[in-house]
C-alpha cells in the first residue's frame, strides 16, 4: 500500500473548497490551514499563463520531518502517511524547519499539526475530505502499488510534476500539467 494524491492543475479552478472542507473535517483552528491553494501567474501580457494548485503535506517517502524529529512524534504509518502524535511532540519546531513545503505549523495548543491525508477517514474506507468535496473533481486519491488504481493510471498517461523534487524528499502528491 502506497497512498498518493494526484491533482489535475488543468481542472482546478481555485475555489478553495478543499481548504474549507479540511478545516471543517479536522477542526483546524481559526487562522490556520492544513491545505491551501496557490495561483502562479507566469509570463507578460498577452502571453500569460495561470496555474492553480491545491497544496498540502506531500507525505514524502524520504520525509525530512520524520528524520529530524527528536522524539519520534513524527512518524510514517502503513501506506506512507506521515503523522504526528501530539502527546510525543515537544513543539521544538525542527520538523517545521526541515519541511521544504512549509506544510507544518504549531497548533495553538503547542504541538505540531499538518495534513494527515484524513487518516481517520482512510481507515473507514473513505476519501480525504478535500478530495471528496472537490467540485471539479480535479483531485484523485489512491494506491500507487495497485497498477489498476485511478492514480496509477493517471500517472501512466498524463504529464506530471512533483514539488521541489531537488530537495530529495520523494513526495507523494503529484500535479498533472
Amino acid at each position: 500500500m502506497r497512498y498518493a494524491m494526484v491533482i489535475d492543475t488543468l481542472k482546478c479552478v481555485g475555489c478553495s473548497d478543499c481548504v474549507v472542507a479540511c478545516q471543517t473535517e479536522n477542526n483546524v483552528p481559526e487562522g490556520y490551514c492544513r491545505d491551501w491553494v496557490t495561483e502562479t501567474v507566469t509570463g507578460a501580457y498577452p502571453t500569460v499563463e495561470l496555474e492553480l494548485k491545491s497544496e498540502r503535506c506531500n507525505h514524502c517517502d524520504n520525509a525530512p520531518c520524520v528524520r529530524t524529529c527528536p522524539t519520534g512524534a513524527s512518524h510514517i504509518v502503513e501506506g506512507g502517511v506521515v503523522l504526528v502524535t501530539p502527546d510525543e511532540c515537544i513543539g521544538c519546531g525542527a520538523c517545521i524547519e526541515s519541511c521544504p513545503y512549509d506544510a507544518r505549523f504549531q497548533h495553538p495548543e503547542g504541538y505540531v499539526d499538518k495534513c494527515t491525508f484524513c487518516h481517520h477517514r482512510l481507515e473507514k474506507g473513505q476519501l480525504p475530505a478535500c478530495v471528496s468535496v472537490c467540485p471539479t473533481k480535479c483531485m484523485y486519491f489512491g494506491d500507487l502499488d495497485d497498477p489498476k488504481s485511478e492514480v496509477s493510471q493517471l500517472l501512466k498517461t498524463r504529464t506530471q510534476k512533483v514539488l521541489a523534487p531537488e530537495s530529495g524528499t520523494k513526495p507523494n502528491v503529484y500535479y498533472l500539467t
Binding site: P70, I96, E97, D102, Q106
Partner: protein, 313 residues
C-alpha cells in the same frame, strides 16, 4: 518573464510569509552551548596534558561559567518549545538521525560532568567554604581524584556539543543557508574562540593569557577561513543557495554579518590580539568582549536569515 505567486487562504502565524519558528532564545542557546563547549575543550586539554598549574583560570573560574551557561542555554531552549509539558519525551528515546535528539542527550550528560567538575574545584576556589557533611566531602575527594577521567570524557563530548550546535542547523536541507557541511566545524571553531575569550576575561596570569591569546588568534584566522569557505561554497551553489547568499551579500543581513560579525567580531579582535602579543599594551577585555559579541551576532544572523531561505518551486 514575470512570475507572481498568490497563496489563497493562508496566513499562518510564524509560518507566513516566512518562517519565524526559532527566535532569539535559539541563537542564545547555540552561542552559550558553543561557548561552554569551547571552555570545556580547553579545560579538558590542559588537564590531560597535566598543565592545570599554568592554566588556573581555565580549569577553575572559566569552568564555573560552564554549568551556568549550559543552564541558561537549556532554559532558553525550553522557553522556545511550544509543547513544554512534553519535554521529557526527548529523554525517552535516542534518534541518531535527529541531531536534536543526540544533542539533547550529550547536553544532559555534559551538564552533569561540568557540575561535578566545578564541585571538585569548589573548595580550592573558595577556601572558606565548608561542605559540613562528611559524605559530601567523601564525594568531593572522589571527584578530585577522578579529574583526569572526567577530562577524558569531557573532551570528546565537548567537541560533539560544539559541532552539534552547527549540525543542528545544517541538517535542514529545506533551508539553503544552513544546509552546508562546513557549518558544524565552523560553529565548533567559533565556540572554541568564544570559550577562549571567556578564559581571557577571567585569567589573571600572564602566561595563561598569552597562551590562550595565541590559540585564540589561530582560531579566529581559522574561523575567517571557514567563513570564506562557506560563502564560496554557496557562491558556487545552485539558485537556492545564491538566493541565501544574497541575504548577507547586499540583502538585509549584510551589515549585521560583515560589520558586526566579520569586522568587529573577528578581524578587529584578531588585530588587537596580534598587536597585544607583539608587546603593546591593550586591555585584553576589548578583543575578548568583541569576540563574544561577534559570536552571538553570528548565530543570530544564521538562525534568522536561515529561516527566510527556502526552496523555490
Amino acid at each position: 518573464m514575470k512570475e507572481e505567486i498568490f497563496i489563497s487562504g493562508r496566513n499562518i502565524p510564524n509560518i507566513d510569509p516566512s518562517l519565524e519558528v526559532w527566535h532569539f532564545p535559539i541563537s542564545l542557546y547555540l552561542f552559550l552551548g558553543g561557548l561552554a563547549a569551547g571552555i570545556m575543550v580547553f579545560a579538558a586539554l590542559v588537564t590531560i596534558l597535566k598543565k592545570e598549574k599554568q592554566f588556573q583560570a581555565t580549569v577553575k573560574q572559566a569552568m564555573l561559567v560552564v554549568p551556568i551557561a549550559l543552564s541558561v542555554g537549556l532554559a532558553a531552549l525550553f522557553y522556545d518549545l511550544t509543547h513544554k509539558l512534553y519535554v521529557w519525551r526527548l529523554y525517552t528515546t535516542i534518534r541518531i538521525e535527529s541531531p536534536m535528539s543526540w544533542g539533547a542527550w550529550v547536553l544532559l550528560i555534559i551538564t552533569f560532568i561540568s557540575i561535578f567538575w566545578v564541585f571538585s574545584y569548589f573548595t580550592e576556589m573558595f577556601p572558606k567554604w565548608d561542605w559540613k557533611y562528611d559524605f559530601i566531602k567523601k564525594w568531593e575527594a572522589f571527584f578530585i581524584k577522578n579529574r583526569k577521567p572526567m577530562a577524558l570524557a569531557m573532551l570528546p563530548l565537548a567537541i560533539i556539543l560544539g559541532v552539534y550546535t552547527g549540525i543542528l542547523l545544517s541538517a535542514f536541507n529545506a533551508r539553503p543557508l544552513w544546509n552546508n557541511a562546513i557549518l558544524g566545524p565552523l560553529f565548533l571553531v567559533s565556540g572554541l574562540s568564544t570559550g577562549a575569550a571567556v578564559i581571557l576575561l577571567l585569567s589573571k596570569h600572564h602566561y595563561e593569557q598569552s597562551m590562550i591569546s595565541k590559540i585564540d588568534l589561530f582560531l579566529i584566522i581559522l574561523e575567517i577561513f571557514l567563513i570564506i569557505h562557506m560563502l564560496m561554497g554557496m557562491y558556487a551553489g545552485s539558485e537556492v543557495q545564491l538566493e541565501a547568499l544574497n541575504l548577507i551579500f547586499g540583502g538585509p543581513y549584510t551589515v549585521m554579518f560583515f560589520v558586526f560579525v566579520v569586522i568587529l567580531g573577528l578581524i578587529f579582535p584578531a588585530l588587537l590580539e596580534g598587536v597585544e602579543l607583539m608587546g603593546y599594551k591593550i586591555p585584553i577585555a576589548i578583543p575578548a568582549i568583541l569576540i563574544l559579541m561577534g559570536g552571538l551576532v553570528f548565530r543570530m544572523v544564521m538562525v534568522e536569515a536561515g529561516q527566510i531561505t527556502r526552496y523555490l518551486y
